[in-house]
């Protein structure tokens, strides 16, 4: 076996280039890889099976290189059940995706529990956290930009696949919220941190696992399905009504916002700040119209809405926020709602994601999500006015229940800042149109319809008209 972790990583470089594009979290699937080189390689323990912690740089034929965190396990023989995790062979050893191996996953837990240090890696348990070891583990198999391992029903370790210099907002905000005893987050148990090219970086976080939970998107869409199955009942008449849940969710989001202020303070956005925000929205709109021509007919009105933000003169409160809030980021547990994944909008640079912003951005994100939940079943179904009408009834009912819950808990109605809230919502919808056009073109009708509806245009049908 090669003497150092770096040697082993270098020896696997070719295999990485084949293996990476098959991974869910790998962003460069459509780019051609030129080379994969280790930036950092740290062996975690020296008994068999081994685990190497790597950061590799992936260089492409064109464009910026990317860095990824990998955990490579080594065994002389790969058991049948780990065969799917194989990366490649070096000498008499097989390198494989180490997270799938119970024993190696537990090794990470042990390092966290013991507050160990390896090379540039620092495993830090949170003060007072209990970390239970020796549990069976499983890798979460959902569409995810990171990788998570669940340890039985106790804890969940999320490894950030794209380490970025600077404090990770997910860790930072969860830590702050745990400190003030916020009941709406999964308690943080520990962090894997370290240094990368001279800057502090976060590699992963361990949180308490919400064993009996389901996410808000699954709950909301079950409700919508129930509504669509009823002949002609209204959204408030069907058994699967979600409004009570939406109300509690609104209260939970407001409580998290309040706790974030308690923990990390708040500030104000002045006229300059509004001008900047307005300019950013207008800039994003201009880009979006170039990418999705269907936006053009709304562009003037959208522009007017965004320009109105620049006219706001009164200072508005800003604070740390979630930044990427939608129904999928909320987990319903038997004791209430939890919010997860405080990383902010993934496409934005870190510096932007950790900036204070208006909590209205989060509210707008959730409001958009209700529209999505209501309309996603219509996608590709052709026009059905009855269903479309009822979908909107569902969305309206749950948006207002969410807002009412938020208002009750926050003591203030987010809707009172109408200009700003609308702008955030429209800005989000514009972002969604672009995202959908790139990834799920049939779904772009959801945000397009919302934009038309909000601006008072005739609402287009939820799908492309059949070509003549």
């Amino acid at each position: 076996m090669s003497p150092t972790a770096t040697d082993r990583a270098v020896a696997l470089a070719g295999a990485f280039a084949r293996w990476l594009p098959e991974q869910r979290w790998f962003a460069g699937k459509h780019r051609s890889i030129e080379a994969v080189t280790p930036v950092s390689a740290v062996p975690l323990g020296d008994v068999q099976p081994r685990l190497d912690h790597l950061v590799v740089e992936v260089r492409y034929a064109t464009g910026e290189p990317e860095r990824y965190q990998l955990l490579v396990g080594w065994r002389t023989a790969l058991p049948e059940k780990l065969e799917h995790a194989r990366i490649g062979t070096v000498g008499s050893h097989v390198g494989f995706a180490g997270l799938w191996d119970d024993e190696l996953a537990d090794l990470l837990l042990g390092a966290l529990a013991g507050g160990e240090q390896h090379g540039g890696l620092v495993f830090r348990p949170e003060p007072g956290a209990t970390i239970t070891r020796g549990l069976p583990s499983r890798v979460v198999e959902v569409e995810q930009s990171n990788s998570s391992v669940v340890f039985d029903e106790e804890s969940i370790l999320k490894l950030f696949r794209r380490p970025t210099p600077g404090a990770n907002p997910d860790v930072e905000l969860n830590r702050a919220l745990r400190r003030v005893g916020c009941p709406h987050v999964a308690p943080l148990l520990g962090e894997i941190g370290g240094e990368l090219s001279g800057a502090a970086v976060s590699y992963g976080m361990l949180s308490a696992y919400a064993a009996n939970s389901a996410d808000g998107w699954a709950m909301a869409t079950a409700s919508v399905r129930d509504l669509f199955a009823e002949g002609d009942l209204k959204a408030d008449e069907v058994g699967g009504d979600f409004a009570a849940e939406a109300h509690r969710l609104g209260a939970a989001v407001a409580a998290v916002h309040t706790d974030l202020v308690t923990a990390l303070g708040s500030g104000q956005r002045d006229a300059d700040g509004h001008a900047e925000l307005s300019a950013a929205m207008i800039g994003r709109l201009a880009d979006a119209v170039r990418t999705v021509p269907e936006l053009a007919r709304y562009a003037a009105r959208l522009g007017a809405e965004f320009t109105a933000v620049a006219d706001l003169t009164a200072p508005y409160p800003i604070q740390r926020i979630h930044g990427d809030l939608h129904l999928g980021q909320a987990l319903r547990t038997p004791t209430g709602w939890l919010l997860i994944d405080f990383e902010g909008e993934p496409v934005k640079p870190l510096a932007e994601r950790v900036r204070s912003d208006s909590p209205l951005r989060d509210v707008a994100g959730m409001l958009r999500s209700f529209d999505y939940a209501a309309e996603h079943l219509l996608v590709g179904e052709g026009a059905d006015h009855q269903l479309e009408y009822r979908a909107q009834e569902w969305a309206a009912r749950n948006r207002s229940a969410f807002t009412a819950g938020y208002t009750e808990a926050a003591g203030q109605d987010p809707g009172r800042h109408r200009t700003l809230l609308r702008a955030y919502e429209l800005d989000k919808a514009v972002y969604e149109v672009v995202y959908e056009a790139r990834h799920r073109p049939a779904w772009r009708w959801i945000p397009l319809r919302s934009i038309a509806r909000m601006l008072g245009f005739e609402v287009p049908p939820p799908g492309d008209l059949p070509s003549a």
Partner: protein
């Protein structure tokens, strides 16, 4: 004031021929010197007893039956004890282990018999104490136990104790009730029947004082601070236990005592008295049970089990009230969280105790243990017609509540038989009987049992006009369509299905005795749980073999088919066997276990080590 007033000592001609005592079926009477005299057990034969099994109630399937509604042997239009006795073979065939009879004592019947005017007499239209002993004897012969309600908190105002108490404040019964010159004491005690009562105090024009009552004003509360009241109640208990009864459902237990500056519920004095009742049962009648009716949160109800260090020293069982409305809510919302929530809030109970769980009973589906918002929701979903509502609840039977949907009926019953606790079936629900919301109060769900498609549903030979309540006759739920006889003849009927499920439940001690573990899962519409029992096949019997019984229950609360991935890593290498057909399913591997369920479908699996499946 009811017309049932004090009876004088029976005339000479009606006294027993040799002992000079009054006819025993006349129950209690007031002697010339104002003493209330009660019969003693020796006046009667006792029923044969069943083997003393201290844990029988933990595994029993209960069946609530209203004597009035089950079977009329005397052609007077009203069911009776002998009629019920004649149907024991049916109940034994169904798999019932214990009957719960709501009160059958003498009563003016202004509160369904919960207003007792003589604890020592059977309501004449139901029969006699001897008929009751016969019922017990025949039931025990079939291995069926019988419990009944004991209303300890209050009596009817027609009870001789109350009549003496109001007449003679300084007499022996003067302190049997809670009297006061003013109606202001205990202001923190809530009024339970909010739609009929304005105060917990009512002025008595005879004694010219106010008396305390937590329920109706015709049900004065007994004064448990008086040791004689406690003794009298223990005598009542001993009387029936001597005859062979297997236990009591203690009605309205939280309210026995009153104290200033409290809400007069769950007081320490009440618990102390219950411990003394339990001690009598333990010392003198081992194997008989006390079942508490305390409509409270599970965290408060567990207090009624008593000290966990000794396995419980108050009641053996208690109803789990909040679970039932949440089962309904969960299925309508297609979300497991209403159930998961309440199960997560249900504390562990002492080792010698068990919950009693039910879907429906003779009362309305009570909504006291849900929030206002949830109550509105339940009304909206299950009681759209205001006639379906009563007090704080819904007066409907299971089948009409579920639109007579067979899949849902099965799903609900499967959950009743597999969630932690001893299930209590309500008479008629095993055949999917309907209700009659045009009948007043709670009578909607108390109509005659439907035995056959013949006249009066086979319930009575009386002229139909004389029935205590009309039979159900609508085309869907009427006795022509829904009756025991036709369901017995069809192996696919709800009745046969229910019987099979009870049978399966009994084959697996995990259902009754196992730990409960909610498995969660990413699909909110699916409720899955494991029940796991490790111990002796006969709990408490060290000589019976050691077993490890694991049952997996998966319930689709949605009307649509649903997939579910279960985390069963702990059972890797074990294999599920579906319990209704004993079909082996693929073994559990390292990956999440994938199942798909039809709309409102459910599975019960036994989980066995793989070698046991293949052999």
């Amino acid at each position: 004031m009811s017309e049932t007033t004090l009876r004088r000592p029976p005339e000479a001609g009606r006294t027993g021929p040799d002992d000079g005592r009054p006819d025993i079926d006349d129950g209690s009477y007031v002697t010339a010197d104002g003493q209330v005299s009660h019969p003693v057990p020796d006046d009667f034969r006792s029923a044969r007893s069943l083997p003393a099994d201290p844990h029988w109630f933990k595994r029993a399937v209960f069946y609530e039956v209203l004597v009035r509604a089950f079977n009329d042997s005397s052609a007077d239009g009203c069911g009776d004890l002998r009629g019920l006795t004649a149907k024991l073979d049916y109940l034994s065939w169904l798999g019932v282990d214990c009957l719960w009879l709501p009160p059958f004592y003498a009563s003016p019947l202004r509160d369904g018999g919960y207003d007792i005017s003589d604890f020592y007499q059977v309501l004449p239209e139901f029969g006699t104490v001897e008929d009751f002993v016969l019922l017990l004897d025949e039931a025990h012969q079939r291995g069926i136990r019988v419990i009944t309600d004991l209303v300890m908190n209050h009596t009817s105002e027609a009870h001789p104790w109350f009549q003496e108490s109001r007449r003679n404040p300084d007499g022996d019964y003067g302190d049997f009730y809670v009297w006061s010159d003013a109606d202001e004491r205990y202001p923190q005690a809530r009024i339970i029947f909010v739609d009929t009562e304005e105060s917990n105090w009512t002025f008595d024009p005879v004694r010219r004082q106010f008396y305390w009552h937590r329920f109706f004003s015709h049900q004065p509360d007994l004064n448990y601070d008086n040791p004689r009241v406690q003794e009298e109640m223990l005598s009542v208990l001993r009387f029936w236990l001597n005859l062979g009864i297997d236990g009591f459902r203690l009605d309205a237990v939280p309210y026995l005592f009153e104290r200033d500056d409290t809400n007069c519920e769950n007081l320490p004095e009440t618990h102390a008295f219950l411990r003394s009742v339990r001690k009598v049962v333990e010392d003198e009648y081992p194997g008989r049970v006390l079942l508490a009716e305390a409509n409270q949160w599970p965290t408060d109800v567990v207090e009624y089990f008593g000290d966990p260090d000794v396995g419980g020293d108050e009641c053996h069982m208690a109803f789990h009230f909040p679970l039932m409305p949440r089962i309904f809510m969960a299925v309508r919302r297609e979300s497991r969280f209403p159930i998961s929530e309440i199960m997560a809030q249900t504390p562990a109970i002492p080792s010698g105790c068990q919950w009693g769980i039910f879907l429906r009973n003779h009362d309305e589906l009570t909504l006291e243990m849900v929030s206002d918002e949830e109550r509105d929701y339940m009304y909206g979903e299950y009681a759209k017609d205001p006639r379906m509502r009563a007090n704080i609840g819904i007066r409907r039977r299971l089948a009409p509540l579920l639109d007579n949907d067979r899949d849902q009926l099965e799903l609900f019953t499967a959950m009743l038989l597999s969630l932690p606790g001893s299930p209590i079936l309500y008479y008629g629900d095993e055949i999917g009987m309907g209700d009659n919301i045009w009948l007043g109060d709670r009578d909607a769900v108390r109509t005659p049992m439907q035995w056959t498609p013949d006249r009066n549903a086979g319930f009575s030979q009386a002229n139909p006009g004389r029935l205590y309540l009309p039979t159900i006759m609508d085309p869907i739920y009427g006795y022509q369509a829904i009756n025991v006889e036709s369901q017995l003849n069809s192996s696919s009927s709800l009745l046969h299905w229910t019987r099979r499920m009870i049978e399966i439940r009994k084959r697996h001690p995990a259902f009754a005795l196992g730990d409960f573990h909610d498995l969660g899962g990413s699909n909110p519409s699916v409720l899955s749980y494991l029940r796991e029992y490790r111990g002796h096949a006969e709990e408490g019997d060290e000589s019976s073999p050691e077993i490890h019984d694991v049952v997996l229950c998966v319930n689709n609360l949605s009307r649509f088919p649903q997939p579910i991935e279960l985390n069963l890593r702990q059972w890797e290498g074990w294999a599920p066997i579906e319990l209704s057909g004993l079909v082996p399913f693929p073994p559990i591997g390292e990956l999440p276990y994938l199942l798909t369920l039809p709309g409102h479908g459910f599975f019960w699996f036994q989980i066995s080590p793989r070698d046991e499946v293949t052999s």
